[in-house]
């Protein structure tokens, strides 16, 4: 279970997160949608402590921290409960596919090289890249890189995986393979928070959809509630724009 309470974050004069709260149960997939600049990425980055939120509280399973006062040690502990899948994959360029997975296992989870290698092999199989273990990122397509990114996150066995627009940097013909991998994870009960512009995908995999705008959560509910029976004017407008665009 992961719970974010009243999170605030400002960059200079701009208050980007204005106190939204969100709670995600085990096995749930929450899709965050919303216009550009609404703070979706910032929210994920704050949960992963890549950005330090100014105020608010984060609870993962039975550990809690206060963003404002979190110590380095607490940050490290909380970070180990989450894993991030980046929009532009962010694979280690100087490491092969399998090494990308092993790195965190060896240096954070303290597995032996051997154990890390076995886990790496297993996860590459799982995302359909068993053959590509020794390829460097530059030698992989965008879709393959992103699947390695997903395998790297899965390997850490985190309580929740955070995915920031995992397919938006991909050529259209490569989107499917990555979405399928994520759907598979959802079926297997992996808890996830996914920021996405793929409405059909959100509708299919999400147990809950959250519409964010201007640093707050405007509306949240089941996919049916958000896509068909939404109550807020802002939600309607956003969805109308999105559907016209697609």
């Amino acid at each position: 279970m992961i719970k974010i309470e009243n999170i605030y974050k400002r960059f200079g004069d701009h208050e980007i997160l204005k106190g939204p709260s969100l709670s995600v149960n085990d096995g749930e997939v929450v899709a965050i949608i919303g216009p550009s600049g609404s703070g979706k990425t910032t929210l994920l980055r704050c949960i992963n402590f890549l950005e330090r939120a100014d105020k608010g509280k984060l609870t993962i399973d039975d550990a809690s921290v206060d963003f404002e006062h979190a110590t380095k040690k607490e940050i490290n502990q909380m970070r180990k409960q989450t894993a991030m899948v980046f929009q532009s994959y962010n694979l280690f360029k100087n490491k092969t596919a399998i090494e990308n997975i092993m790195e965190g296992l060896i240096y954070s989870k303290k597995l032996s090289r051997n154990e890390a290698f076995k886990t790496g092999e297993k996860l590459l199989q799982r995302v359909g890249l068993g053959e590509k273990a020794d390829a460097y990122p530059k030698q992989l397509s965008g879709g393959q890189q992103q699947r390695v990114g997903i395998a790297r996150a899965l390997a850490l066995n985190p309580s929740v995986i955070l995915l920031d627009e995992p397919t938006s940097a991909l050529d259209p013909e490569l989107v499917g393979e990555v979405l399928n991998t994520i759907k598979e994870m959802a079926r297997e009960g992996q808890t996830m928070i996914v920021v996405t512009h793929e409405m059909a995908f959100a509708r299919e995999i999400a147990s809950r959809v959250v519409f964010m705008e201007g640093g707050v959560i405007v509306e949240e509910g089941t996919p049916e509630e958000i896509f068909e029976n939404n109550k807020k004017e802002r939600t309607k407008e956003f969805l109308k724009r999105i559907t016209y665009r697609n």
């Binding site: 992963n48 890549l50 970070r79 962010n90 280690f92 100087n94 790195e103 240096y107 530059k138």
Partner: protein, 230 residues
């Protein structure tokens, strides 16, 4: 004037004599490069740490070194440093000239190395660092396992260029009385009363070309090993 025709024979003869002095040139340049890399690394760190004083010192050092001709730096260190240290009651006047040569060359090259290292470091996007954090790696591990290897690959071509230039600069050490290839060439040339100067200098050129080509090849091979990054 029967001696005036260019003599290949004499070039070869000089080459054989001068080859004996290749080791001293190689020793001086190799040690200068090693020491220069270490110094350069410190200067780079000085530029990157969030400390105004260290930043200023590093930037000042680089500007100063780039603005000082190599020969002048060599003479300043050879004649000046012992005097300077004498005023602190440290006596280094008995040190071998080779030590001063290595000091001067390495200080000079460290400025160029550090410029290269700093720009290689800043060429690595924050993405790589964040990816490391997101999988729970410590700062130290991210730097040693992700950042430094990638920065090395980026820096290699420029590091290679600086190495070539320091090899050539090493010919200046004759100015403080070290008998290297260049110095010996002068001796050989004057022993022919200047009649065979050209041959001798062609031999010197051949030696420097060989060394530089060899170093370039080595760098190219190392660069090739990083090709998967590009």
């Amino acid at each position: 004037m029967q001696n005036s025709a260019f003599s290949i024979h004499f070039v070869v003869n000089s080459l054989v004599t001068l080859l004996h002095y290749v080791p001293i040139t190689l020793l001086i340049t190799a040690l200068s490069i090693c020491l220069g890399l270490v110094l350069g690394l410190f200067v780079t760190i000085g530029q990157l740490v969030p400390n105004r004083v260290l930043n200023g010192l590093s930037i000042g050092f680089i500007a100063l070194m780039r603005g000082t001709p190599m020969l002048l730096l060599l003479l300043l260190i050879y004649y000046g440093l012992p005097l300077l240290l004498q005023s602190f009651a440290i006596d280094i006047s008995g040190w071998n000239q080779v030590v001063f040569a290595i000091l001067a060359l390495s200080i000079n090259i460290s400025a160029y190395f550090s410029e290269t290292m700093r720009s290689a470091y800043s060429a690595i996007s924050a993405d790589q660092y964040e990816a490391g954090l997101s999988v729970g790696m410590s700062n130290k591990r991210i730097i040693s396992r992700i950042i430094v290897p990638q920065a090395t690959a980026i820096a290699l071509p420029n590091i290679g260029n600086s190495m070539i230039s320091i090899i050539k600069h090493s010919s200046l050490v004759y100015a403080i009385g070290i008998t290297d290839i260049y110095q010996q060439a002068q001796t050989v040339a004057s022993s022919t009363f200047g009649m065979r100067q050209l041959e001798v200098f062609v031999a010197v050129a051949l030696i420097y070309w060989m060394i530089c080509i060899l170093v370039e090849r080595i760098i190219a091979v190392i660069e090739g090993r990083f090709s998967y990054l590009r």
